[in-house]
Symmetry: C2
DNA sequence: GTGAAAGCGCTAACAT
DNA sequence: ATGTTAGCGCTTTCAC
């Protein structure tokens, strides 16, 4: 006979509580609690009785109640601009997969590339007391930065490398993307080199394309080339259509255009399609390259030259870093920024014109 | 002077609680609570004082604590097989967007097309006491069905139409997809018609492809055609590569193959690429069609004939339905299943050979 | 190995 | 318009 044997009648409505299980197994609530956190501690017979009761009632512990006292919500928040972009989906997958064995759950928030949405999402997330927050991109509104700094939990800025991270940063340099792309096209001897990326929009938080374009431009300039074929049009996110339109605009601007870098494979693929419609052969008539190494890129005819970052592994590394920090490991100043790098994958769309 | 004026010292560590705010604003905790749920009820001056305190302390209410007593977690669980598939991403986007104004948060779970993962995810979700659960696909393990039926909250089975829904169902019929595809190809007079879909795998919960293939097969049979060109190979999820390999296998099996239905646009696009590599002209040498109306499909040259379902709107409808149910609206037996239908979009990859 | 008391941060219900 | 009491479901802590 134990504490809660007498009292309220058995519940019939709603989910069973730890009380119901305790009553049915004729043990204290604490014993039921231990059944989940430290089953070996229980006497085999007790354990069996509790297991039976848990099963009968289909009992699932309420983590919200538990976390109130343990102060561990088991949530990690991840804010991304778009679920539709498979690079972000890959990161999310990497994080979630690595966090699960440690019994953490990913709380996904979609900012739709909007500053306002990012703020709203961060507040929503904070209400759930995440044990860590992962945000995408490097620039955030004052208020976002404020909220993140006051969050009192590890914050990771992902997929871009800020010079002054709020806390932790892991990713790659978008400026390096532009530089590698320009260097590649220059080294192959292309003469009239263009690029396609998005323009600036008021509420956007996505500057990744712009950074790729800027450094691309700078590298061209440094080589003494014209930069008027670096096209900014439309708004992020870019798309197949964006690339198709872009190459059209560029060809109008310079009919002898011989190479184009699109800030995303999506745009590059769209440009390839447009070239097919215009009977421009690739890479003979026009060389193309992108960024992201999307699935489609290896399937294209010819295959698309691109710059690849392993996003799934980026997500995994992020999760491992967070796991360390959440377990109390201290991170030195130098280890706050991790550059995972990238690699140029030369494929069929950028062969030398006369090779 | 109020209840909590005396007591523990001001907190310096961790997030502020409602107590801290109440103390700073010199009001009762309830007043702070009301500031968030029903601000108009407060005297303007009081409201201002509370607002000030909230701001000073960067206070964000802890929803876990609140939901413990309101019994409203504010979560809706959504289990999908893959984030990378843009159709599912579109559904998730539709649900999340429609739910947000009502202050619900989507809890996303990735099952990776695996039964075991689905069970694990459902348990994880239940521990968060979601107010509704949305699952994808129609077949679930015994245990999953059990868990869902005992959940005590609305359950929506999405993107497929089961004959006996656990609770609610909304989506379309995969059998109809196969039927429409076969009918379309037959009506155009194609003679040697094939199809490409995944085989069956042990742990998979994804039978959507199989259902499309089955009804496709049946429709061919009913028209007196051969069905040995309906190819099942590989495992879900399908991909560009899957389609490219598939069309290769089919061409080996029947060199006069003149039309192919891929159960996903991804496969159809892959097949198109393979044809390009083999110098098979489309649709003259081979007609192709897919399902899903992915972004890429309108960009292909020629554009891809497909069957479209508006997934974003499917997500929105799901959310609206759930909002109704969660607000206590009763749903009649007949209204438990919603068929959102689909439409055939004839584009460039299926023109009559001699038109 | 097991139990009882206390309390996490919040709000429903009932005062005033 | 504001305050007080009680308690949501769980775990920490200490007792046995």
């Amino acid at each position: 006979m134990v504490e809660s044997k007498l009292g309220s009648p058995p519940r019939t409505k709603g989910r069973a509580t730890i009380r119901d299980v305790a009553r049915l197994a004729d043990v204290a609530r604490m014993t039921v609690s231990r059944f989940f956190t430290n089953p070996e501690q229980l006497h085999a017979a007790t354990r069996a009785r509790v297991a039976q009761a848990v099963d009968t009632l289909s009992y699932v512990p309420d983590r919200a109640a538990g976390s109130l006292i343990t102060r561990r919500s088991g949530f990690v928040a991840f804010l991304l601009p778009s679920l539709t972009n498979s690079n972000f989906a890959a990161i999310a997958h990497g994080i979630a997969g690595t966090l699960r064995p440690a019994n953490y759950q990913l709380l996904l928030g979609n900012t739709s590339y909007s500053v306002g949405e990012e703020e709203r999402q961060i507040e929503q997330m904070l209400a759930r007391r995440p044990e860590a927050i992962v945000v995408t991109g490097e620039r955030h509104s004052r208020r976002c930065t404020q909220l993140l700094m006051n969050a009192g939990v590890p914050v990771v800025e992902l997929a871009d490398l800020p010079t002054h991270p709020i806390d932790l940063a892991i990713g790659f340099s978008n400026r390096e993307v532009g530089r590698i792309a320009a260097t590649h096209l220059l080294s192959l001897g292309y003469q009239r080199i263009g690029a396609i990326g998005p323009g600036r929009s008021a509420d956007s938080i996505d500057f990744r394309g712009e950074e790729r374009l800027e450094s691309f431009e700078e590298t061209l300039s440094a080589a003494g080339r014209r930069t008027d074929l670096v096209l900014r049009h439309g708004e992020p996110p870019v798309s197949y259509r964006h690339g198709a339109l872009g190459v059209g605009i560029l060809l109008e601007r310079e009919s002898k255009l011989d190479a184009v870098f699109a800030i995303s494979d999506l745009g590059a693929v769209g440009a390839m399609m447009e070239c097919q419609r215009r009977k421009i052969s690739i890479p003979r008539g026009l060389a193309l390259m992108g960024f992201g190494d999307f699935d489609i890129s290896t399937e294209m005819v010819p295959t698309l030259t691109t710059i690849a970052v392993d996003f799934e592994s980026l997500g995994q590394k992020t999760a491992l870093l967070l796991l360390d920090v959440m377990r109390g490991k201290k991170i030195g100043e130098t280890a706050r920024i991790t550059n995972v790098g990238m690699r140029l994958i030369q494929r069929g769309t950028t062969r030398k014109v006369a090779d």
